[in-house]
């Protein structure tokens, strides 16, 4: 009886050892000279495999960068520091555009809007949006179930007590996962230096908006008229800002009667 234990131990252990040695030798014998930059570039990348660059993962992007297929600034998440590190390895210089972070274009949390429906189904925005159109009175606004927070690979989004997502500008890398996750398309990417954001996505008429949300855009058009740069246009009862034209003057936020437009005093430091 004891024999069988010993025999199985020896057989399996022996097989394991022999195969391990064989594989080790084979790895030596079939070693391929790889471009040593490949590993360096891969180490310089963030390594979260978020896929924002359009490649399968960080390893695939590293391969593409080394082979010259992708630019050294191919990683939108790493920002300028990563791009520069990679450029150093590759012996070129990097030109990096401004970092973008996510902005939530809705301010209608539990306090600002009415709750019209009680929803006890699957607790994701996607499901709620399909079944009942959400629990809040506004059919364009945030559903508050946090699909974006779940989707964020960097833990940059937290759902606050008011049922709205809060984005941590330090943690946000601009990968855009939340933009894709939101079934209502209320999250957008904006350059980090821009301070003015029109936080409403409702196309409802002003009268309707007034009834269902205290901070919604009523489409009065004052911001559009007051803007010295012509950066705001009115479209289907909603003010839309053109970040390229905006100069951070903050006039629109001052004049907005409903407080939809937000102007942050503190400029988020560009990293």
């Amino acid at each position: 009886m004891v024999n069988i234990y010993i025999a199985s131990l020896i057989t399996l252990g022996g097989l394991g050892v022999i195969l391990a040695i064989g594989l080790g030798l084979a790895a030596k014998a079939f070693h391929i000279e790889k471009d040593e930059r490949l590993e360096l570039v891969e180490n310089a990348l963030p390594g979260v495999n978020c896929g924002a660059c359009g490649y399968v993962g960080c390893a695939a992007l590293a391969e593409a960068i080394v082979s010259g297929e992708a630019p050294v600034e191919g990683c939108p998440v790493g920002g300028s520091s990563t791009a520069q590190a990679i450029a150093e390895i590759m012996g070129t210089t990097a030109t990096v555009g401004e970092r973008e972070i996510a902005q939530v274009l809705c301010k209608g949390g539990l306090k600002e809007t009415l709750t019209t429906v009680e929803y006890q189904g699957i607790q994701t925005c996607k499901a709620a949006n399909m079944i009942s159109g959400g629990t809040k009175s506004c059919q364009y606004g945030c559903l508050g179930l946090g699909d974006c927070a779940v989707a964020c690979p960097f833990d940059a989004i937290i759902m606050n007590d008011n049922g709205l997502p809060e984005i941590d500008p330090d943690k946000c890398t601009g990968c855009g996962e939340c933009v894709r996750a939101c079934p209502r398309n209320i999250i957008t990417m904006a350059p980090i230096s821009k301070r003015t954001h029109i936080r409403c996505s409702s196309y409802d008429h002003g009268k309707v908006v007034r009834q269902i949300c205290t901070v919604g855009c009523i489409g009065c058009g004052i911001c559009s008229r007051v803007c010295p740069e012509d950066a705001i246009r009115m479209e289907n009862n909603l003010a839309i800002i053109d970040y390229e034209k905006c100069t951070n003057c903050g006039l629109c936020a001052e004049k907005c009667p409903t407080g939809t437009i937000e102007y942050s005093e503190i400029l988020i430091e560009a990293i």
Binding site: A7, T11, L15, G22, L23, F30, I32
Partner: protein, 196 residues
């Protein structure tokens, strides 16, 4: 001559009558996962055929010269998994060194196949049916051919399906599963072909 006929019959029966995917229901995962395009499906089939033939060989050798000799048949599952995994690793290294083109074509599929149930099923069937060495190799190769046949047929159907007017509820996975079921039914038609 009789030997040859027997081998030929074994081949045909494994490809059509006892098709690994559609009759034995092994390897369903790649069958549904990698059957979007004919090109990738064929690469997958190619890699699988390759590994299956090797597995047929290796499992017979291991079973005859190690397991049966020491009366350790109860270890077959564990042993086969170790040996197959190591073998595929080795083959991957070998191909990477000798033929980068083939390595690119097989790509990620080669390591993926290592843990496929169709491969382990093949090894276990070989021991339970007590095949000879030649039979094992032919069985492994035929199983791979059957796998390729099924997955390429499926990919062809799914490519055409892209342009079909599928009712909303059946779009995507449901219609694929329905097709797989109907294909399995169709392959049942071969069951009277050879009595084995």
């Amino acid at each position: 001559m009789e030997q040859f006929t027997h081998i030929l019959l074994l081949f045909v029966s494994t490809v059509l009558v006892n098709n690994f995917i559609l009759v034995r229901f092994l390897g369903i995962c790649p069958f549904l996962g990698v059957s979007n395009q004919i090109g990738t499906a064929f690469s997958m089939g190619l890699a699988t055929t390759f590994v299956m033939t090797l597995t047929g060989m290796a499992s017979w050798l291991i079973n005859t010269f190690i397991l049966e000799k020491f009366g350790l048949q109860f270890l077959e599952t564990v042993t086969f998994i170790i040996v197959i995994a190591a073998l595929v690793q080795f083959v991957e290294m070998f191909i990477k060194k000798t033929s980068p083109v083939l390595y690119k074509a097989l790509g990620i599929f080669l390591p993926l196949i290592t843990t496929n149930c169709a491969i382990l099923g093949l090894a276990l069937i070989i021991t339970s049916e007590a095949y000879s060495f030649i039979e094992s190799v032919v069985f492994g190769f035929a199983a791979g051919v059957g796998f390729t046949l099924a997955i390429v047929l499926m990919a062809g159907l799914r490519e055409n399906l892209e342009f079909a007017d599928v009712p909303g509820v059946l779009k995507g996975v449901p219609i694929t599963l329905l097709i797989a079921g109907i294909m399995a039914l169709a392959f049942m038609g071969f069951s009277g072909l050879i009595a084995m």
